[in-house]
Structure formats: C-alpha cells, structure tokens
C-alpha cells in the first residue's frame, strides 16, 4: 500500500468574491502518477494554484508529506519538495539553459544535490547538453518544455506537479512529453499531472480525478475512467 504524499481535504477557494473550487478533495500517492482531467474552466489550474500556495485557501486543508501546509507560504513549499512545472513553461527567458536548471535547484534541499540532479536531467534530455549556454527564450516550444521539465526535476521533487505540459505543442512533441512522463514514472518520481490530452494521460496514469465546475465529479483508475461512458462522451469525443 503506497503512502499518501499529498492530501487535499475539502478545499474551497477562488478569486475576490468569486468562488471557483467547492470542497475539492484529492490525494496523490508516493511513487504514483495521479492525473486531474477536466475541461477549460473546471478549476484545475485554480486547484494547482492553491496547492502551490500562489492563492490562499478559503477553507479546507492541504497536507503534504504529513504536514499541514495550508498556510505555508509558496516559496517554503518548494523547500519541502513540492515542485511545480507551470503551464506555459514560465522559463527565465534572459537566462541561459544552464542558469534555468540551476534556478530549479534554488530550494534548500536541492542545492546540495545539484551535480547529481544535473547529471540525471542531462541524461534524460541529452539534447540540452549542447544548449546549456543558449538563452532559454530563444529556444523552440518543445525545447523550452524540456528545460521546464528539467528545471522541475532539478528541485529534487517529492511531488512533481505538471500543469498542462503538452499544451501548445505539435503532436509529435506531445508524444515526446508523454514519453518523458512515462520514463519519470518508471524512475519512481511521484507526479501530479493536469492535462487536456485525456486519452494519453489516462493510458499512463495510476489514478485520475475528473473535475467539472469546481468540483471533483468522478475518480478511478485510468483504465476505469477510459471505459466510462461519461468520460468518453465529455472528453474523448467518442
């Protein structure tokens, strides 16, 4: 029985007066890939923002690695191993690829292991090796996504959160991204994936949640959900 690394309990939050999330509960288990699917505006991104601490929770609790982090500031969550690979990559464009990776290891835990992490990342993305001194902003979208994933891995994640990693990429590159996710899963890296590419995510995932209108409406193993009529109708267009 794998233990729970992230437990979100009845989380409600929103922006200003507008409530977006309504008592959302999810959990992610160590060593597993957990996926959240849902259409645009279903609250996935808001949920990740609350988990990473960019926006405060209105009610409910977020427990990470046995600690209640509901009121812990965002930057300290990175120190605890909660690492985010944000949607749209959010690289530091004027920094070199190497500096971007280095910034990934900014948190206290990661700094000591920076050499091993770099080796791991360059082994995973050999193409970055020749690009280390290139400015990140001058790379193509696919390459930037590799840097973003690499930067996340440099942080020695206890839980790696991937927010729409395949968004805006060409079909071939989408497959590359899922290939990486698969490899990381085999390496035993715990991941929480938010994706619009429902079919590919459900094929890989250990457990998945379906969100709609700020609530979790369904959960199950990837296989179960892929067979479910509702998911097929709503997200797979079959």
């Amino acid at each position: 029985m794998a233990d729970v690394i992230l437990q979100v309990e009845k989380l409600s939050t929103g922006y200003g007066e507008v409530q977006i999330l309504w008592e959302v509960s999810i959990q992610a288990k160590r060593g597993q890939l957990t996926t959240i699917i849902g259409s645009n505006g279903s609250g996935k991104t808001t949920l990740l923002r609350a988990i990473t601490g960019i926006i405060p929770a209105w009610s409910g609790r977020i427990i990470f690695n046995g600690e209640d982090i509901t009121n812990v500031p965002a930057y300290k969550r990175a120190d605890m191993g909660l690492i985010m690979v944000p949607e749209g990559r959010m690289l530091f464009p004027e920094m070199t690829v190497y500096e971007n990776l280095e910034m990934g290891a900014y948190n206290k835990r990661a700094r000591q292991k920076i050499k091993e992490s770099l080796e791991f990342v360059l082994h995973l993305f050999p193409r970055l090796k020749e690009r280390l001194n290139q400015k990140a902003g001058t790379m193509s979208g696919g390459e930037q996504q590799m840097v973003a994933l690499g930067r996340g891995l440099m942080g020695c994640p206890e839980l790696l959160i991937l927010d729409e990693p395949s968004l805006g990429l060409a079909p071939k590159l989408v497959l590359d991204v899922f290939d990486v996710v698969k490899k990381l899963r085999e390496e035993g890296i715990t991941m929480l994936l938010v994706e619009q590419n429902v079919h590919l995510s459900l094929m890989l995932t250990d457990w998945a949640y379906v969100m709609a209108e700020g609530r979790v409406v369904m959960e199950g193993s990837g296989e179960e959900l892929e067979k479910s009529d509702e998911v097929r109708k709503a997200y797979l267009g079959i």
């Binding site: 930057y75 959010m90 530091f92 464009p93 910034m103 900014y106 206290k108």
Partner: protein, 284 residues
C-alpha cells in the same frame, strides 16, 4: 588640446558615477516595475551622509562609501516595507505616487534640518596628471569607485544565489516563487540595492561638486535620461548611457554655456523617445 583631454576624461569619470546612479534606478525598474521618483532624494541623502561622516569624523567619502552602501541597503529595504510593499501589485500610478511622496518627505525634512545652503567636501587629495591634463584626484577616484561598484553588482547578480534570484524575479516572479524564492525579500532587497547605489553615487559625486539637499533632482533627471539612452531594464546600457551623458556634458561645455547642457540632455531624451523608445541598446 589639454582642455579636450581634460573634458573627455572628466566626462568618462563622471559618466561612470551617473551610470552607477542610473543602474540603481534601472534595477528597481527591472525587478519591481517601479519608477523610483525618490531616487534623487536618496542621491542627496548619500551626499549628506558622506558630508557628515567627513566633517564629524574626518573620514574620507572614499572610505565611508562602504558604510553608506550598507546604510543604503538597510534604509532602502525599510522604505520598501513602508512605502511600496502594500502597493507593489497595484497599478503603476500608485507606486509612482508612493515614491514621489517618499521623495517629498525626505526633501522636506532635509530642507528643514540641513537648509538649502550649499555644502562641499574638500577631500584635499590634489590633482593627478593623466595624458597631459590635470584631473582632480577625487574625480579619478569617483570614476574608479563607480566602475568597481558596477562590476561588484554584476558579479553579485550573476554569480551568487541571491543575485540570480533577483534576476529570476525580474523575468518571472511567479516562476521564481515556484523555485522557492522568497519574492517579498527579493523585492525589498532589490529596492535596498537600488537605493544604496543612488546613495553611493551621491557620496562620490559630493566629493567632486558642491551640493544642497535639492541637488538630487538634477542627478535623478540624468538617471532618467541615461536609462532612456541605454534602455530601461538593461544595466549595461545604463553604464553606456552614463558615459555618453558624461562625455556630452563635459565636451559640449567647451563650446557652449553650461546652461545649455540640460536643454541638450532633454533634447536627446525627447528625440530618443520619438525615434527609438526602447533605448539605444534596448531590445525590441
């Protein structure tokens, strides 16, 4: 001939100091997206800090400048929490007003305490002969120190974890937060360093020219012209802009009355804003 050599050397040496003040303004803009209208007030504070340390303890500005740097960082960080922290994510008008009121408070209190009588620091180091021209040693040291502080800032920004965090925050604050950067601390530190550079530039310039509590305004305007010349957000551009402005100011005065200099400077400002608004070395 000697007049030309002397004008060019003075231009370069003073230009480096103007550049240093402008880099402070530039850093604050680059990291915080705040136009610091209190820059001149802090330049003047730096002048007075150097003046009082010199007249009370006989310590030369070229020694006390290290103290003033440290003082500047502390004062700037405090000023951040008093005047900027609560409005940092508000529209730009709020931070403009906020730094402007900071400037009014400093200059108002400064006028009350120090009056507007001109002061000067006579370091008494004499002159140095360079390429056949006699240049006051304080001017040479001012240029040299400005260059050292600029280089030190570069090393700090590119070689230390904290410096890299400052650059990361300037490029993408949310992403920096995801990396574990304490952005509130970095914002206050950036303001502290920007203010410290203004005060250091003030202390150095005070060893060359006489000044009053109102003198900061002139140098603040120079900083703005320099940032426009070099492009906001480009520290190297600020240094280049500083050199250009220093040279113009000193070489032009050989051929025309000093009173025309501000006119020329602002003519340049307007022309650049019209022709290449991102600055001579700026991007896009």
């Amino acid at each position: 001939m000697d007049a030309w050599v002397s004008a060019i050397l003075s231009g370069v040496l003073l230009g480096l100091a103007y550049g240093l003040a402008a880099i402070g303004l530039n850093l604050i803009w680059g990291v915080m997206k705040v136009i610091n209208l209190s820059h001149g007030a802090f330049i003047a504070l730096g002048m007075f800090a150097a003046y009082f340390v010199f007249h009370s303890f006989g310590i030369s500005p070229f020694v006390s400048v290290i103290l003033i740097l440290a003082l500047g960082v502390v004062v700037g960080m405090l000023a951040y929490f008093v005047a900027l922290h609560r409005v940092i994510s508000a529209p730009e008008l709020s931070t403009l007003l906020s730094t402007y009121s900071l400037s009014l408070i400093i200059i108002g209190l400064g006028t009350f305490v120090f009056t507007t009588n001109p002061r000067a620091i006579d370091v008494g180091l004499g002159s140095i002969k360079l390429f056949g021209a006699y240049i006051p040693a304080s001017k040479v040291l001012t240029g040299l120190y400005s260059l050292i502080f600029t280089a030190a800032l570069y090393v700090f920004l590119f070689k230390t974890w904290t410096g890299k965090a400052i650059r990361a925050v300037s490029m993408n604050m949310t992403a920096a937060q995801f990396m574990g950067v304490n952005t509130t601390f970095i914002l206050s530190l950036s303001f502290g360093i920007g203010i410290a550079l203004a005060m250091v530039a003030g202390a150095l310039i005070a060893s060359v020219f006489p000044f009053t509590i109102l003198s900061g305004g002139i140098y603040e305007l120079k900083s703005f012209v320099i940032c426009v010349l070099g492009g906001l957000g480009s520290p190297l551009g600020a240094l280049a802009g500083g050199l250009l402005l220093g040279l113009l100011e000193n070489v032009l005065t050989l051929k025309m009355p000093v009173g025309y200099v501000p006119f020329i400077e602002f003519l340049i400002l307007v022309v650049i804003l019209l022709v290449k608004p991102s600055g001579l070395l700026g991007k896009e």
